[in-house]
Symmetry: C2
Subunit: 368 residues, 2 copies
């Protein structure tokens, strides 16, 4: 097991990564000073596989933990589902010293996290991520929230967990695509700030794809340490945290277009990173060889890097430029690579960005 | 105008108290570094009286501010109303740099504050309280939230405003009962921590009742300074903030009983303070003369101090002992007075507390 602390003043907390940790969630919670009654929020897929073990583990704190099962999928991140979660917490007569355990992927973590942030003005939260995407990214950083019919994550709060427990053996049960999409966010940390980690990932790609638990423990920990350092420096997204958006400008625009075959988040980010690496060659001096290495790694773990069109259309351009965070006048605020392991932010004129994008889409597509 | 700062690290903010400040909300917001688009959340009663002025004032930041009018009353503190507020904020395409102005009493402040806390994971909030209760108490301290059908303020967050603007001339328009109930929370600060303030209040009671704006400016500022000091020492209600509950153990139990004629919060707290002052004589050595002075002051401003029954019944006892925060085994955690201006917390056995309460209710009722 690996363990480290996220230092955020009074919101500091421990991160544990290891194999078989689900059975010790109760012990870890006690070591973190938690002692109240427990509600486990999960989805029905995860419940079938892991709920019994976590339930048993938290009996150390509460012999009769409350369990709340959501329907799997993004549509559960709604105000309606949240209302039902509050109802269950009230019914169970939970009080201010209670502990909410978020057992599942990003949807469960976001919704359960927001419920914990807002029930009785905030109760203790333990994140127990069970997908690779949640383990390397969403479980750490304090972003919680739900969707509004008009926009994702529109309703939410920054709220730090009291503990994060990532059991990498839960990754064994993930469907292939869901496992792979997490690898995109994992290699992102290497690309933006850790060249030696990239070397390691290159050497380990076969073991990673076969889900070797020791390798996963190692790289999940590395990823979370990177994220922790970034969040420590910039908890509320004022500056540095922006570099986590590498691959996401193009990635989000791809995700927003259902026409593109319902790409998963990590799949869209993989394509986004490949494209933004190509653009980094022009605008940030990234050596062509480095862009090639990144693309080759993504392909080697089964992630496509090809844009699903040959020419940007209007709706795609709208999706690209909609987010004012990423825009300033006629320029896009991009996270680019100067070299593998070193990110920079650059403003690039939208016109030029689209010309580059069309060139990449039409002729020089990052290969699969 | 009086002005001071609430020191809460990165959540520090300015408090302004004065006459005619509504017309300068835009200027003050700009001085506080706010520059985004504006949504004013208010209720239809307050809107009729003050919305035009505040709208005009914030045009400095946003020539077309969004205005959201709630129905007046506690029933607006619901998830349904909150959902409609989110809809309006989305419709108006407000972004992360927007400013929400909460213009109204406690209901508006709580709901608009929670909307600000959770829209886009938190946007800037200006509290512009227009009732005495909100000006001396609820606008400061960061408590925001809505009700669940089963319990008040069950859903919420601690979220500090970026600015508080209390214009005491808005108090002129309050209905008599609504004005008076605020005086209960005002004298509470004197009772728990400021004997000289109590002397001042005694001398000024006539001017206060006639709503002399200079006097109100003085005492609202004093009250908010006390609250600020308490909140600075204990932002999340770990300890000291508990003394703000003087009068509230009995007060909340009275409020919970609709049979008692629909007492307003401040009216219930006034009776609660009178009763808890009597109990302080037995359990905290409060001189009888001090209890008498407090009761006399409450009566002099038109607040009743009589319990609305002669014997505690079961539902009242349940309401008293329901809240586990206030209970430990068979004892109630009470805030009592050692002398006027000095509060202490004491555990008193529930049995003995009820005997005292029945004695007070049956024979030695605090007079009106």
């Amino acid at each position: 097991m690996q363990s480290f602390r996220v230092n955020l003043g009074r919101d500091s907390h421990q991160v544990l990564v290891g194999q078989g940790l689900l059975d010790q969630v109760g012990e870890f919670a006690r070591q973190a000073g938690l002692a109240g009654r427990v509600a486990i929020i999960t989805d029905s897929n995860v419940a079938r596989l892991y709920l019994a073990r976590v339930r048993k583990a938290v009996e150390l704190l509460d012999p009769y933990p409350t369990t709340i099962e959501l329907e799997p999928g993004e549509q559960s991140k709604s105000l309606g589902t949240l209302a039902r979660v509050y109802d269950r917490l009230v019914e169970a007569k939970l009080e201010r010293d209670c502990v909410i355990v978020a057992l599942g992927g990003g949807v469960v973590g976001d919704l359960a996290g927001f419920a914990a942030a807002t029930f009785l003005r905030g109760v203790a939260l333990i994140q127990v991520p069970t997908t690779l995407l949640a383990q390397v990214d969403s479980a750490l950083g304090g972003k919680t929230g739900i969707n509004h019919p008009k926009a994702k994550n529109l309703i939410g709060a920054f709220y730090q967990p009291r503990l994060i427990v990532a059991d990498v053996t839960t990754l064994e049960s993930l469907p292939e695509r869901v496992f792979r999409e997490g690898l995109a966010e994992m290699v992102k940390y290497a690309a933006i700030r850790d060249a030696p980690m990239f070397d390691e990932l290159e050497h380990a790609s076969k073991g990673i794809v076969s889900r070797n638990p020791a390798l996963l423990e190692h790289f999940v920990t590395m990823s979370l340490r990177h994220k922790a350092q970034i969040v420590e420096a910039d908890e509320r997204e004022g500056g540095l945290r922006a570099i986590l958006n590498f691959g996401h400008t193009v990635g989000h625009a791809l995700e927003a277009r259902a026409e593109f075959g319902g790409l998963l988040h990590g799949e869209a980010v993989a394509i986004g990173m490949a494209v933004e690496a190509k653009i980094s060659q022009t605008y940030a001096g990234l050596p062509a060889y480095d862009a090639e290495r990144l693309i080759r790694w993504l392909n080697s773990v089964g992630l496509s890097t090809r844009l699903p069109f040959e020419q940007c259309d209007e709706p795609f351009i709208d999706a690209l430029t909609l987010d004012k965070k990423r825009r300033k006048g006629g320029e896009l605020n991009l996270v680019l690579l100067r070299q593998l392991g070193q990110a920079v932010t650059k403003y690039v004129p939208i016109e030029q960005f689209l010309i580059e994008l069309n060139r990449i889409a039409g002729t020089a597509q990052p290969r699969d």
